[in-house]
């Protein structure tokens, strides 16, 4: 299996704090990789640098052979790396359907020049996007909320919408930021099913940051463990669970 | 000649600095860009005129009266306008728009009450001091000295007193400060009090230095003051001081003939904006500011 994403010696500081202190690991294609570690380990910061909302101070992030660490967020997304947010960032003042329609790629209607010069192509693309959006809505069982404002959805529903939206972008790598935080047990199972199904059917790779170790152990093929800005262990869930360094890190005895 | 320009720049810069500290203080605590600040300065200057002219008091008394009146105005406005807006959880845009509406009302009210004719304080503009080749009028010297003293006092107040530390804590994180048991309401009123006092002082000094002024002069000062605040980083009092002085000096020095003939003095405000624009392009958060997202 080839490495889809390679993180090489990434460093990111905030003032005097070295949030990420030389982290390196690889994410293999079509894997579900978990990224765990105690609070303050640097997971969220590392996530943000991969997604492009933060620039690393040094180090490289390579995706499908190309460096993405210097690119702005939108170009990282266009390259095929998309993320969800821990507090699902749906567009609350727009409808659920609009939220999904926005997740189209290369839409001629989204460019001013396209609207004026290629109206038919724009309309055709819009129709296709509409169909796909409805498909996605059905997938996450939110069809009845199509015309509701996304702001009226519950937390769990927003997470589903967020997931549906990133999937519409037909990404190669999905970064899930604490996907089950604040989610009911039943919905947790549903989300896990979605992730597994999507990985299987659409060949999408997942990198999941999550505090709930049970979920990660269930969902992930491989787990990367961080502590104090560095990667301290990589392996299968079982390997990592019994790794002494990891246990120490969580118990706070490691330095 | 060059030194003279620097000195003149320090004078203008001193006024900017005091006002900038006042603006920055309120912004730090309330996230409110007070567009009405210029008109509050004009208010202070006019009250001082009323005390100095018709009531024949000395400039010192007049200045104190102006400062007190402006502080009272600031507190009243907080009670009547800003507090209700906070209660409605008004966001940045609402507050900005409200401060614009307020500026309109305040300025027109001043024009209505006082008329648009220019006025001057009863001072002797011809007393000049010569220091190391530089000529400064009495008013200019007073402006520099007062500004320096005031900012030192304010700076010490913010750093050394308990309540000053409270204000700084709130600037860092208002909600956290509330949870930590700080009386947010009292601290807010204190911030407005200081902001109002500074506005009054800056207004009087500006009017003193310009010699003749009318109710419109506040707005003309407002933009360089905002530029100074932005330059120094919103929320930082020392930054406001540095920004104010830097802008004042830059404006005056730009007219120096040594710079390829110098900028036409008429375009001095444009210089202030140009400095701001360039500075923001180099360092979008200002020189002392933190990179906060909107």
């Amino acid at each position: 299996m080839t490495a889809l994403l390679e993180v090489e010696e990434v460093v990111r500081t905030f003032g005097a704090v070295r949030a990420v202190d030389g982290a390196s690991f690889a994410v293999e294609e079509r894997s579900i990789t978990g990224l765990i570690g105690p609070n303050g380990a640097g997971k969220s910061t590392l996530f943000a640098t991969i997604a492009g909302s933060l620039k690393p101070d040094s180090g490289r992030i390579v995706f499908a052979g190309a460096r993405i660490d210097r690119r702005p967020t939108y170009r990282v997304a266009r390259a095929g790396v998309v993320r969800t947010y821990q507090a699902a960032r749906v567009l609350t003042r727009m409808t659920v359907l609009d939220n999904l329609l926005l997740a189209s790629t290369r839409h001629p209607g989204e460019r001013l020049a396209g609207v004026v010069l290629r109206p038919r192509a724009a309309r055709a693309h819009e129709r296709r996007t509409l169909d796909r959006a409805r498909e996605m809505l059905a997938l996450v069982r939110l069809e009845s909320h199509e015309h509701d404002y996304a702001g009226t959805l519950s937390g769990g529903q927003r997470k589903l919408l967020d997931l549906a939206r990133v999937l519409m972008l037909e990404p190669s790598l999905v970064l899930l930021d604490e996907p089950i935080a604040g989610v009911s047990p039943a919905l947790r199972v549903e989300l896990l099913d979605h992730i597994l199904a999507v990985r299987r059917d659409r060949s999408i790779t997942f990198l999941i940051v999550e505090h709930d170790l049970d979920f990660v152990m269930q969902a992930a093929d491989r787990v990367v463990v961080m502590n104090e800005g560095r990667v301290i262990a990589v392996g299968t869930p079982d390997e990592v669970r019994t790794n002494e360094q990891v246990v120490d890190a969580y118990l706070g005895t490691a330095h | 000649m060059f030194l003279q320009l620097v000195a003149n720049g320090l004078v203008t810069g001193s006024v900017y600095a005091i006002a900038a500290v006042g603006v920055s203080l309120v912004y730090g605590i309330l996230r409110l860009v007070n567009f009405a600040y210029g008109d509050m300065m004009a208010f202070g200057a006019l009250i001082a005129f009323g005390v100095n002219g018709p009531l024949h008091q000395s400039m010192v008394v007049a200045t104190l009266a102006g400062m007190a009146a402006t502080a009272a105005l600031a507190l009243t406005l907080d009670l009547v306008l800003w507090k209700p807006l906070r209660a409605r959880r008004a966001g940045f845009m609402s507050l900005f728009l409200a401060s614009i509406g307020l500026a309109l009302v305040l300025r027109q009210a001043l024009l209505l009450a006082a008329g648009s004719q220019p006025r001057s304080y009863h001072v002797n503009p011809y007393r000049v001091f010569v220091l190391g080749g530089v000529r400064l009028s009495e008013q200019q010297l007073i402006a520099i000295v007062t500004a320096a003293g005031t900012i030192v006092v304010v700076g010490l107040f913010l750093t050394l007193t308990t309540v000053g530390r409270v204000l700084r804590a709130m600037a860092d994180d208002r909600s956290l400060a509330a949870v930590a048991g700080i009386d947010v309401g009292r601290a807010t009123r204190l911030a407005w009090l200081i902001s109002g006092l500074l506005a009054g002082l800056a207004g009087v000094l500006a009017a003193l230095v310009e010699y003749s002024f009318d109710p419109n002069f506040g707005f003309e000062l407002l933009l360089p003051v905002f530029a100074a605040v932005v330059l120094g980083g919103i929320g930082s009092a020392y930054g406001a001081l540095a920004g104010g002085l830097a802008l004042g000096v830059a404006q005056e020095v730009s007219t120096w003939s040594g710079f390829a003939g110098g900028v036409n003095p008429v375009y001095k405000p444009v210089v202030a904006f140009a400095v701001l624009a360039v500075a923001l392009m180099i360092r979008p958060q200002g020189f002392f500011g933190q990179a906060r997202t909107g």
């Binding site: 989204e110 | 409200a98 933009l223």
Partner: protein
């Protein structure tokens, strides 16, 4: 009181309301749809009006060639402002836009050889040529008046301005229903979320700024044609604030709310001329001018406090969070 019944006066108010509608429409595109805090809108009006006047009077161009170029000039002004300042955080951007607008006014005031300085466009050229852009326009207006069978040029101007305004409103409304418009609305809602969906938010904001500036440019042209001569003092920040007030009055984020806001604003502003009864009659007429602006300011405050979504706005879509 006789002026109250004067059709000519109300036609004039209607023309001004139409000009403000176009100006505020530009602001609606920038703020209502892309979330940009532009407090320098009047600058683009000035750029357009002066560009046209200078091209016609000094370079001898036809008004009909100068006008489109003037609109382009305004749009370029918007691009310039955007490219230099859009990456700043919202509050700094707002301050820079005001600075931009004041710089434009400042240059217009002081570069007398270019713009006629404080005297305004009447000083652009010798008597006769200085009114040339207005002369060409008047001839056009006369032809329209004749075609429509109107007896007054005020009514004709009213029809022309509002015809253009309606077309622009319709075009804007249509543009917002496109996928392009959808991205704009997403950016207003949550810019980072839009970026993480692969949208180049900077480009969209720049386009919104430039389009809004172009609309202000159209307003500037009509201003020039209606008032014949103008000077830099006609383009003070106050006009931008009036445009903001119209946006607040009608409702942020709704295209067709703009003419409603402009109409109400025009009515209030014109209506306050007739405050001939106590307590207003106690003031001298020049003082009443100040009073009217105080009323305008108080209305802005009241709107922000009480009904920030405007007369027609949707509370759910309220942007002034």
């Amino acid at each position: 009181m006789s002026i109250l019944a004067s059709g000519s006066f109300w036609a004039f108010v209607g023309v001004v309301a139409g000009i403000y509608t176009i100006l505020a429409l530009g602001l609606q595109v920038q703020f209502g749809f892309a979330g940009l805090l532009n407090f320098g809108q009047v600058a683009f009006m000035a750029i357009s009006a002066y560009t046209m006047a200078i091209l016609v009077v000094k370079e001898g161009w036809s008004t009909w060639l100068a006008a489109p170029l003037a609109i382009v000039a305004a749009a370029v002004g918007g691009l310039f402002l955007g490219l230099s300042s859009l990456r700043l955080r919202a509050d700094y951007f707002a301050i820079v836009t005001i600075a931009f607008s004041e710089i434009v006014r400042y240059v217009a005031t002081n570069d007398t050889s270019l713009t006629g300085g404080t005297q305004g466009t009447i000083a652009l050229g010798p008597i006769g040529t200085a009114s040339e852009y207005n002369g060409q326009w008047s001839r056009f207006e006369g032809r329209v008046q004749h075609a429509l069978g109107f007896s007054s040029s005020d009514a004709t101007m009213l029809v022309i301005v509002w015809a253009v305004a309606v077309v622009l409103l319709a075009l804007t409304w249509f543009a917002l229903r496109t996928p392009w418009g959808r991205v704009l609305r997403a950016i207003r809602d949550d810019e980072d979320a839009a970026a993480s969906l692969g949208k180049n938010t900077f480009a969209y904001k720049l386009q919104a700024l430039a389009l809004g500036a172009a609309l202000a440019g159209v307003a500037g042209l009509f201003y020039a044609w209606e008032f014949s001569f103008f000077s830099p003092d006609d383009f003070q920040p106050l006009l931008t604030f009036f445009a903001w007030m119209i946006l607040l009055l009608g409702g942020v984020g709704r295209v067709w709310a703009v003419p409603v806001g402009a109409g109400v604003f025009g009515f209030i502003f014109a209506g306050t001329r007739f405050l001939n009864f106590p307590p207003f009659s106690w003031f001298a007429s020049d003082q009443r001018a100040y009073l009217r602006l105080i009323i305008v300011g108080l209305i802005i405050l009241a709107l922000v406090l009480v009904r920030p979504q405007g007369l027609l706005g949707n509370k759910r879509e309220m942007v002034l969070e």
